[in-house]
């Protein structure tokens, strides 16, 4: 399995992903700090916004990743080449999904730690609000963000369903945007962004879709 994942990375260079992740992190920081200057937002809300923003960005990144790893292989027909190799199709697809899911989780986790820490330091240094963020508080917030990161990695697989139906890259990415729009709601009427149950429900759907895709792949005609 690890060998298959290694080969996937050989076929599709992931430099864009790393570079994009770094740029995204910096942009999130640049965006988040002025928000607090402008509006009176509590620290609690601030961390919710941070987490939601990071997850939103990397769920869309995951959709691009799924497009490149799976949808594009169908579109360019290279998947048929893959299917003529003496490797179980299930394993081939599972390796791709595992790569996308794991990469999304790791990136969200690292970004959460990075952005939350830099934000806290900046907050304390420039006294962005009247409160202070003690290290204890920061660690607590990071722990919660990591839990959400697992859920987000699961949810990031949902666009696969929409993308595979028509083998369309745009369907994959648009569906990821819709998921992000729902998952990032944090207004008083629909507080989803910090609701673990909703996040887990989405994750469960994502994982189910992954299993469904893997299960179906043997029966499918490769036309």
């Amino acid at each position: 399995m690890f060998n298959l994942i290694r080969l996937e990375m050989k076929k599709e260079s992931l430099k864009w992903y790393g570079l994009g992740a770094i740029i995204a992190n910096l942009l999130i920081l640049v965006l988040i700090i002025p928000i607090q200057y402008d509006e009176k937002i509590t620290l609690d809300e601030m961390f919710v916004i941070l987490g939601a923003l990071i997850r939103a960005v990397f769920i869309v990144f995951a959709a691009v990743l799924l497009s490149k790893l799976i949808i594009d292989e169908y579109r360019s027909k290279t998947i048929y080449l893959m299917y003529t190799y003496p490797i179980q199709r299930k394993k081939l697809i599972a390796a791709k999904l595992l790569l996308a899911g794991t990469l999304t989780f790791i990136t969200i986790a690292i970004s959460s730690v990075f952005v939350a820490t830099v934000y806290s330091i900046a907050h304390n240094m420039f006294q962005l609000s009247t409160e202070e963020i003690p290290v204890q508080r920061l660690l607590l917030e990071i722990m919660s963000m990591l839990k959400f990161a697992i859920a987000a990695a699961g949810a990031s697989l949902i666009p696969l369903y929409f993308g595979l139906r028509k083998r369309s890259v745009s369907a994959t990415i648009i569906s990821s945007l819709l998921i992000v729009a729902v998952l990032s709601q944090s207004n008083p009427w629909l507080p989803i962004a910090d609701n673990m149950y909703v996040a887990l429900a989405f994750a469960a759907i994502g994982v189910l879709i992954a299993f469904w895709t893997i299960r179906n792949v043997d029966k499918m005609d490769a036309i």
Partner: protein, 305 residues
């Protein structure tokens, strides 16, 4: 004799329409089997079924002594293929594509990559990504990839598409070398009848999803001697000799100087000898053989080609 591929009652229907129906085919080990058929006859679908890319609606496939099931995959290690047109990871170089192929096939003699690239006559490829290749170069690379791991069975769909005449000749020699030296079985489809005629040991003619004829090339050559064409200025005298002295009645006068003799029992030498003895000038005398193209068109019907 050992059998490489055997299909029985192989059927594939898409949305109720049968693309391949009740197809029985037998490919012997070590032979070159040419699959002929008009566009849309089901050649590619058949080949995809042999590679387990498309799952049959009914019927059985036996390949290299094993029965193909929906989830067969280990068997694919012993097969090489080109389906429709060679597909590559276009951003990668030819070499990288072949390295990937080796890795996925579980083949570890990667030093053979350069050798194989040379074998198919790919030149000046450097580190160019495959997307910059011409169709002919892609075709050669596709053949290189298919034969790289020295599989027992090669399934090649239109492998000489896009090659120039000298390229076709090189590849033909390569195929013949592969069967002779390595005992590889080749299943080839093509539109170019002349090519198949020169290459194949056995021909399968497929039309509307059915194998309407499976015959060895030797049999075709033997069965299809059509007539002896005689050109002489003394046509009338020649007719007399044929009818009275040689007792041939099955002949046709085409024009003032040409006669076609359909009687299969008289040899060309006997005819020319008799004519010369009777002092009849012969401008030419030829045995006309129906070629594969005519044979094919007879079977399939011209309208469909």
């Amino acid at each position: 004799m050992d059998i490489a591929i055997k299909t029985t009652g192989l059927t594939k229907a898409f949305q109720g329409k049968e693309i391949v129906s009740g197809l029985n085919m037998t490919v012997k080990k070590g032979e070159i089997y040419g699959l002929l058929g008009p566009n849309g006859a089901g050649k590619t679908t058949l080949m995809k079924m042999l590679l387990n890319l498309v799952k049959p609606t009914a019927g059985e496939i036996h390949i290299l002594g094993e029965t193909l099931t929906h989830s067969s995959f280990e068997l694919l290690k012993r097969m090489g293929n080109i389906i429709e047109y060679p597909i590559f990871y276009e951003k990668l170089s030819a070499f990288d594509n072949l390295v990937l192929h080796c890795e996925y096939m579980g083949y570890y003699k990667q030093e053979e990559i350069h050798e194989t690239i040379e074998l198919v006559g790919l030149k000046n490829i450097d580190n160019k990504p495959v997307k910059e290749f011409s169709l002919g170069m892609k075709q050669r690379l596709g053949i290189a990839r298919a034969i790289l791991t020295r599989p027992e069975l090669l399934i090649l769909d239109e492998p000489i598409n896009g090659l120039d005449p000298s390229g076709i000749k090189e590849i033909r020699n390569l195929f013949q070398m592969l069967t002779k030296q390595y005992g590889i079985t080749l299943l080839i489809s093509s539109h170019i009848l002349g090519e198949i005629e020169q290459l194949a040991d056995t021909i399968g003619i497929i039309n509307k999803g059915q194998l309407i004829k499976e015959i060895s090339m030797d049999d075709i050559r033997e069965q299809n001697t059509e007539y002896i064409e005689l050109v002489t200025p003394h046509q009338r005298k020649a007719c007399y000799v044929l009818e009275e002295l040689l007792a041939i009645s099955n002949y046709k006068v085409v024009d003032d100087s040409t006669i076609r003799i359909y009687d299969a029992n008289v040899t060309q030498t006997a005819i020319s000898k008799e004519l010369i003895l009777n002092d009849i000038e012969i401008e030419s005398i030829n045995r006309k053989v129906k070629n594969l193209e005519e044979y094919f068109l007879d079977l399939v019907g011209t309208s469909t080609v």
